[in-house]
């Protein structure tokens, strides 16, 4: 296993990292006091750590390469585990039952905090599924998706402040406004390609945030809007615990609806057109698909979900200000989609759960939280570049004429 060569290699790696981290890890200067602190023990730690980790790294890379080769040779049981399990009724039914029980029992079994975090994760499931339409299906890289989220959140908050609009009325209004914004913003930019589109959408996201920040008369500026009412339930007076549980189930409902709609869209004429557009724009047009309309529909529909997510977001936090809608937010949502596995609904759900729950559970590491989060992002991508649930786009499977064309499920 451990040949001399490998040890040599690891030694070199370890030396390299000791060199690399030398100034920042070892020397701590205090330019104010004009003192230097030398922390040599750290160098030893880095060296030792790098030495050990380089073995792990090599092992993992080798394993990944081996896996790739096996896949190239093309064994039949290439279908990933989860879809395979799901297609087997023996596993599927009990699994489904267990999931349902777990989901229903969650807010009663776990603490307020757990429920609260789960609500956040569910909001990201909904919003992530929306972005999945844009990025995963239609292949349009949108780095300013958070703009529509902001539109939803602010439309509820502002309508509530000025006109006393309730949550239930704001939900469709927020969605509609986001849809409208999607069309409005999409129209001029959708002829741009790839990364140019990405940067322009990033620009739009920032524009919306900056306007919210600067235009006090409209949006109350950086001090935000407080005391946004939580969603009402027939005028009942709910305690914090109860209203959290209520929002939880509301989000479960919304998430299920989103999954339902996105699934149906994906398997429809429109959904196929989105995927085709992602695959090859020129050929797509030559097949009679209206590029602009198709792109716009993906963009606006994606925005709609962000709008809805935004309304729930405002209701859940009861306070909003522009700091919740920075580019980092767009990036996190994008990570949800890519990490989970682009284009896959299950993937987005898993991605959202991981990305939102992970930093929360990493709280135990307190100040190392975001450091570890960064490392995990890199590692996940390096070792599973296709996302966690990859290659399971459902495809039309033909099973004979006259029969219903059945789909191979996710």
């Amino acid at each position: 296993m451990m040949t001399l060569q490998e040890i040599k290699k690891s030694l070199f790696t370890s030396l390299w990292f000791m060199f690399l981290t030398f100034p920042i890890m070892v020397i701590k200067v205090n330019t104010i006091e004009k003192t230097i602190e030398w922390r040599w023990e750290r160098m030893a730690a880095v060296g030792l750590g790098a030495f050990v980790l380089s073995f792990v790294w090599r092992y993992l890379i080798q394993r990944k390469e081996a896996g790739k080769k096996r896949a190239e040779v093309g064994s039949e049981d290439n279908v990933p585990l989860i879809p395979r399990l799901m297609s087997d009724r023996r596993f599927y039914m009990p699994g489904l039952m267990a999931t349902i029980v777990m989901v229903v029992a969650f807010p009663f079994v776990f603490s307020l905090y757990q429920t609260n975090v789960m609500i956040t994760a569910l909001i990201y499931v909904v919003v992530g599924l929306g972005l999945n339409i844009v990025v995963g299906l239609a292949g349009l890289l949108d780095l300013g998706y958070v703009a529509f989220y902001a539109v939803g959140a602010y439309s509820y908050a502002l309508l509530n402040v000025h006109y006393g609009v309730t949550f239930w009325m704001a939900l469709p209004i927020g969605a509609a406004l986001a849809f409208l914004f999607g069309i409005l913003l999409g129209f001029p930019v959708l002829r741009l390609r790839g990364d140019y589109l990405a940067i322009v959408t990033l620009g739009f996201g920032e524009i919306i945030r900056l306007v919210l920040e600067n235009w006090n008369e409209f949006s109350f500026g950086p001090s935000g809007i407080a005391n946004i009412p939580k969603p009402g339930l027939f005028g009942l007076d709910l305690s914090l615990q109860q209203s959290t549980t209520f929002i939880y189930f509301l989000m479960i409902g919304l998430a299920l609806m989103t999954i339902f709609v996105v699934r149906r869209l994906q398997d429809s004429r429109i959904g196929r057109a989105w995927i085709a557009l992602r695959e090859d724009e020129v050929a797509c047009q030559a097949m009679g698909i209206d590029k602009t309309r198709t792109k716009l529909s993906a963009f606006a529909l994606g925005a709609t979900w962000a709008g809805m997510g935004g309304v729930v977001f405002a209701a859940k936090t009861t306070f909003i200000n522009p700091t919740s809608f920075t580019i980092w937010e767009s990036i996190i949502i994008l990570c949800v989609v890519v990490l989970g596995g682009m284009g896959s609904i299950l993937g987005v759900i898993v991605g959202a759960l991981i990305l939102i729950l992970l930093p929360e559970y990493l709280r135990a590491f307190s100040e190392f939280r975001m450091l570890i989060f960064g490392v995990i992002l890199v590692m996940m991508m390096v070792f599973r570049p296709g996302g966690i649930i990859s290659d399971v786009r459902r495809t039309y499977k033909f099973e004979g004429l006259g029969n219903k064309a059945e789909n191979r499920g996710e």
Partner: protein, 300 residues
């Protein structure tokens, strides 16, 4: 007229700073089509390394121009090493996967590096000594432009000339262009693609480090987060100029710098960034591949 000139020079300063970062962005993008989100962090690490070197040398009793030169050189070497290592760890294993995966990896790297410096050094802002000498010839126009700014202009110009020479006239430059155009083809004709990519990261990172040291000297402070904002702006500048094109990156940066400066000067800095982004959108609507980018039509 004085006011105009002042805004013009202010814009030039901003533009030159963006350019030093944008060049690295655009080079990396040109070669592997990756938005290297961690590039801003490389710039920040460069600034920090420079600060550490300056402090150590100052404490040893040095106090000459040599200090800043050595600091800049060490910062460039270290940033290059970081760039090289990051590419090997976070991007190389992802070659051939979807481009978005590499983007997420870059974002993860960016988060990691920010927090690495935050934890290993400090969350506080640190003062950055300005060791760039005051040139006597600047004295009469000191209220308009400072020596540091002049050094930034000169550095940017030199870097640009140097890069142009490198790309146009050296073997490595030729190889870089070949890889940028068609990686597989370049590999077939015997270009060592891995080496070219590493080299690109090294050059891009060391330019960013130079920028880091100069900018930090100019604004007099540094913390772990300075890279992110500057990085985003520089990326916008690179796209504005036409990503992948080096003269484009410089031109885009200058245009962005002037846009911001004049907008602030004549209208309002409240909406400075809003305007910068709207300007970007407008330019891209009329020139979908940026100012100097060649619009690529699909070969059908």
């Amino acid at each position: 007229m004085d006011y105009f000139l002042e805004l013009f020079l202010g814009g030039l300063t901003r533009g030159s700073i963006y350019a030093l970062i944008a060049l690295g962005y655009t080079m990396v993008y040109g070669i592997i089509e990756l938005i290297n989100f961690a590039h801003g962090e490389i710039y920040m690490i460069g600034a920090f390394t420079g600060l550490i070197v300056i402090s150590v040398l100052t404490l040893l009793g040095w106090n000459t121009v040599a200090v800043i030169v050595i600091a800049a050189l060490v910062a460039m070497i270290y940033s290059a090493a970081y760039g090289y290592t990051i590419e090997k760890i976070a991007y190389k294993p992802l070659r051939g996967s979807q481009r978005l995966s590499a983007l997420i990896s870059a974002i993860g790297m960016s988060l990691f590096l920010q927090n690495y410096v935050l934890l290993a050094q400090t969350s506080n802002f640190l003062p950055y000594p300005n060791l760039i000498p005051e040139f006597t010839f600047v004295k009469p126009i000191e209220h308009i432009v400072r020596s540091t700014e002049i050094v930034i202009y000169i550095a940017t110009a030199l870097v640009m000339v140097g890069l142009t020479v490198l790309i146009k006239f050296t073997r490595m430059g030729k190889a870089m262009r070949a890889v940028a155009q068609d990686r597989d083809m370049a590999m077939l004709v015997g270009v060592d693609v891995n080496r070219v990519i590493s080299f690109t990261f090294i050059i891009g990172s060391s330019i960013a480090a130079l920028g880091g040291v100069l900018v930090a000297s100019h604004i007099g402070q540094v913390n772990y987060y300075v890279g992110f904002i500057a990085g985003i702006k520089a990326f916008v500048a690179a796209v504005l100029g036409g990503i992948g094109s080096m003269p484009g990156a410089v031109l885009g940066s200058l245009v962005l710098g002037w846009t911001e400066s004049f907008f602030t000067g004549y209208i309002s800095s409240d909406y400075e960034d809003v305007f910068a982004f709207i300007f970007l959108v407008l330019i891209l609507i009329f020139r979908p591949a940026g100012i100097l980018g060649r619009s690529q039509t699909d070969k059908v």
